[in-house]
């Protein structure tokens, strides 16, 4: 441990971080390998083995695992989300020839190197804890999953090697075919990162939705357990969520730097960076509800009991909190877009006031519906007047049909916010501009109406029709809107005349805080859903297979859980801030403002290009 601290103290920009993470990996591999061979032998015979160990002095084994696992997962999400984010930025920079995108990608890859080590460190701690606290469960899982442990370690080594090349080769591989190769390295990095994500997902999803394991080679058994009903839904959901996390954390980083920026160049650069982060976060967020819906559907189909625990039973209030957090996130993202219009485009304030108000009202109405619970919190007196905890009129807002509808509408509004921002300050000169505008508003209007009609109709058809056809149709309509309007707008703006140039660096401080708020909301959401995933298994380690017989088999109440979610979010934010601080310490000393002005340079055509 002392070695780790010491190497943190020194310059982390370079090899030490790498040495550390490789050491962490070796440790991990060793840890996995050694006890496993021992377990495999004794698994058959030993019945008097220890099932649990506890550490009550520190709040009990469950709380320790909770904090460590959550922080490890958040760091992992960040570490896997940033390469996607960085790689996309690098491609944009390469395609458009704008150096600032390349610089941005490089800046974040540098953060990656230091956060990678911390993630591995927490992974190691988590593994120690799990082996210590839950020997019986870990024994069982190891017995099934050992081949994928090995695969995981190999992937980790490949990922590490690729990251070395990607980061240290950045400047060497700038031109021509070398750059293409570098982009390919970035692609490889993401492929390995994807496997590093999906393999542990299989362990976690097996716990939630186990399949029966028959005789066979250990590889066949591991594969059978890996291919369980919720594996792919979770993979997709987490992949998208990681992009969102990466984007919003980039935004928050830019927000904090923007707040403390001293020079005009710095302000310009970080304003722009905040915009890019928010943009990527929002675009990742738009398909996320669909992925979540798919996951929920698979859970229901796998086991009705678990589905009801989540959506209608013990955890139903958790989804109201989730709606609140998502609502704040949507509002925050839109708020940032709208502020961008009023501040960055001089003279736009009065012109866009009315549409903004309309969008805000729709968002709030949708949020009101989304947050209306099915079972209301009511005092005895109120419940008596209501006749139960179902409101006769507002109760209908409490079910999936309504929630799906408003979620889709909120996505549509957010998308429109972005399109409005994109088109602001420009005048379309194409001859068919009028027609295109009419088509766009027509598509949007029809889509919104159809989504609402399907939502209302959903109450009058059998549940399966609603789930299989109506909800899917709603999702497809929203996707269709995005896929038609985006290219149409891009085409329209190609020939457009810029009437008012965007001015960077004029956003007020509260824009920086809005970016921080969005990042906090995303992190809180991830911790909340971590609790949901864990609690949906109720008193099972492996659902329906291995019961949790420890004293921590109960699921804590939401308030208690929220305190832990907040704690985890705070620790994670502080860790990330620390990593960022350490990683950028060298820059200031080395380059001063020289590097900064190079980054901030470039044209203002970003807004035209980034939408593609």
């Amino acid at each position: 441990m002392r070695n780790h601290e010491a190497s943190h103290g020194r310059d982390l920009g370079g090899l030490n971080a790498w040495g550390l993470s490789v050491a962490g990996l070796a440790l991990l591999a060793g840890l996995l390998g050694l006890p496993v061979t021992g377990w495999a032998e004794e698994a058959a015979g030993a019945s008097a083995q220890v099932s649990y160990r506890d550490f009550p002095q520190l709040g009990g084994s469950r709380n320790i695992i909770w904090v460590i696992a959550q922080i490890h997962l958040l760091l992992a999400g960040f570490v896997l989300g940033v390469p996607i984010f960085a790689w996309l930025c690098e491609i944009v920079g390469w395609k458009t020839g704008e150096k600032r995108y390349d610089k941005l990608a490089k800046e974040f890859t540098k953060l990656l190197t230091s956060s990678y080590a911390t993630t591995a460190l927490f992974g190691g701690i988590l593994l120690f804890m799990l082996i210590g606290f839950y020997p019986k469960l870990m024994n069982y899982l190891t017995d099934i999953f050992f081949p994928s442990f090995v695969f995981y370690c190999v992937m980790f080594l490949l990922e590490t090697a690729t990251l070395y090349l990607y980061w240290y080769g950045w400047d060497a591989m700038q031109e021509g075919r070398a750059k293409v190769f570098h982009l390919f390295l970035g692609f490889l990095l993401n492929v390995f990162a994807f496997f590093i994500m999906v393999v542990p997902n299989s362990w976690a999803t097996f716990q939630a939705s186990p399949v029966v394991i028959a005789e066979g080679s250990s590889l066949a058994r591991a594969w059978a357990a890996t291919w369980n009903p919720t594996w792919w839904p979770v993979n997709i959901h987490r992949l998208i969520a990681n992009v969102v996390l990466g984007g919003f954390i980039c935004g928050a980083y830019a927000g904090v730097r923007y707040l403390s920026a001293k020079s005009a160049e710095e302000r310009e650069h970080y304003d722009w960076m905040g915009y890019v982060g928010n943009f990527i976060g929002v675009f990742g967020m738009l398909p996320l509800p669909f992925a979540g819906y798919w996951l929920m559907r698979e859970i229901y189909q796998y086991n009705q009991q678990m589905g009801i625990t989540l959506m209608g039973g013990f955890l139903s209030w958790l989804f109201i909190l989730q709606a609140m957090l998502i609502g704040v996130l949507f509002l925050g993202a839109n708020y940032y877009f709208w502020m961008g219009i009023t501040y960055r485009i001089p003279g736009a304030e009065t012109k866009y006031k009315k549409p903004i108000l309309a969008m805000l009202v729709i968002l709030l109405l949708c949020l009101g519906v989304w947050m209306t619970p099915h079972s209301l919190v009511a005092s005895l007196e109120e419940a008596r007047k209501l006749g139960g905890t179902h409101h006769p009129l507002l109760g209908v807002f409490g079910v999936m049909s309504a929630k799906m509808t408003v979620a889709n509408l909120m996505i549509l509004v957010t998308f429109m916010s972005f399109i409005m921002y994109w088109r602001a300050g420009k005048e379309e000169t194409a001859t068919w501009a009028k027609l295109a505008r009419a088509v766009m508003s027509g598509v949007l209007g029809v889509a919104a109406i159809v989504v609402i009609v399907l939502g209302v109709w959903g109450y009058f058809v059998p549940a399966i029709v609603r789930i299989n056809y109506f909800s899917v149709a709603q999702v497809l309509i929203v996707l269709f809107v995005m896929l038609t309007i985006t290219p149409l707008t891009a085409l329209l703006l190609k020939s457009a005349r810029t009437t008012t140039e965007m001015v960077w660096g004029r956003m007020p401080p509260r824009a920086g805080y809005a970016l921080v708020l969005n990042a906090v909301m995303v992190i809180l959401l991830m911790t909340l859903m971590g609790y949901a995933r864990s609690s949906s298994r109720v008193h099972w380690h492996i659902y329906g297979v291995m019961r949790d017989s420890s004293e921590y088999a109960y699921s804590p109440a939401l308030g208690y859980a929220a305190a832990f979610m907040s704690l985890n979010t705070f620790i994670f934010c502080m860790l990330v801030a620390f990593i960022f601080w350490v990683a950028t310490m060298g820059d200031k000393a080395k380059a001063g403002h020289g590097a900064m002005s190079a980054m901030a340079g470039g044209s203002h055509e970003l807004d035209e290009r980034s939408g593609r």
Partner: protein, 238 residues
């Protein structure tokens, strides 16, 4: 400074409160305080977002409020008003502390889960009784004998329903049996109120435990009759 910048939002908040609190109950059941609070909070955040979108609107909205509280260049009545408002804050906190800690005879607000998860044994069953007109008729007959005293004509308003809190379920409501699988109903009828898990508050439900009176097959028939009579379809997966 225009009066409208503050008057409109204030009117909106007050108007919404009055509407939710007093106008809504004229048409439907009254709203619980928690829900009214939620809608007011949403409106308030909407106002704050809209008013702080640009520098000018923020200045015209928040500027006067800040100046009023900080007391810059005030005299006479304004000064007195400011002191009064500032004196109100501790009083407000005191009142809040009092109301939240004072002992009261009212039971705490509760949060009953209406549809808790069924035990595993019941999760994956399907109706073994074929859905034939004859079976449906028999089911309706059984329903009339055993269920209708409380659940009435599928609307939860049977002659005996008035005595119960929570009231018997209304099967015509699209948020009750239409959202559930038949196996769920089987569990609820067979095991009754006492069979609910803790979050369903088994002590609150008066549903009898029908497994002592009815055979499994009869329960399945009742389920067929119930869906048919209420005009609903059970949730299915294929």
């Amino acid at each position: 400074m225009k009066v409208g910048t503050h008057l409109k939002p204030a009117l909106l908040m007050v108007g919404l409160y009055l509407f939710l609190k007093f106008v809504m109950p004229l048409f439907t059941a009254p709203l619980p305080a928690s829900l009214i609070m939620l809608y007011l909070m949403l409106t308030f955040s909407g106002i704050m977002i809209f008013m702080t979108l640009s520098g000018t609107s923020m200045e015209s909205f928040l500027g006067p409020i800040f100046r009023f509280i900080s007391g810059d260049g005030q005299d006479g009545t304004m000064k007195m008003a400011r002191l009064a408002v500032l004196a109100l804050f501790p009083l407000l906190v005191g009142w809040q502390t009092y109301t939240s800690t004072a002992p009261s005879t009212a039971p705490p607000a509760e949060n009953r889960t209406v549809h808790p998860a069924p035990p595993g044994e019941f999760a994956a069953m399907s109706n073994p009784v074929p859905n034939t007109p004859e079976n449906v008729m028999q089911g309706k007959g059984l329903y009339a004998a055993y269920c209708s005293p409380c659940h009435g004509l599928f609307d939860g308003k049977g002659p005996a329903s008035r005595g119960f809190n929570p009231p018997p379920a209304n099967f015509k409501d699209p948020t009750t049996i239409a959202m559930l699988q038949e196996s769920y109903l089987f569990w609820r009828i067979k095991k009754g109120g006492v069979g609910l898990s803790v979050e369903g508050m088994p002590w609150k439900s008066a549903m009898p435990r029908w497994e002592f009176e009815l055979k499994d097959e009869q329960i399945w028939k009742i389920i067929l009759g119930e869906y048919d009579g209420a005009g609903q379809k059970p949730r299915t997966w294929e």
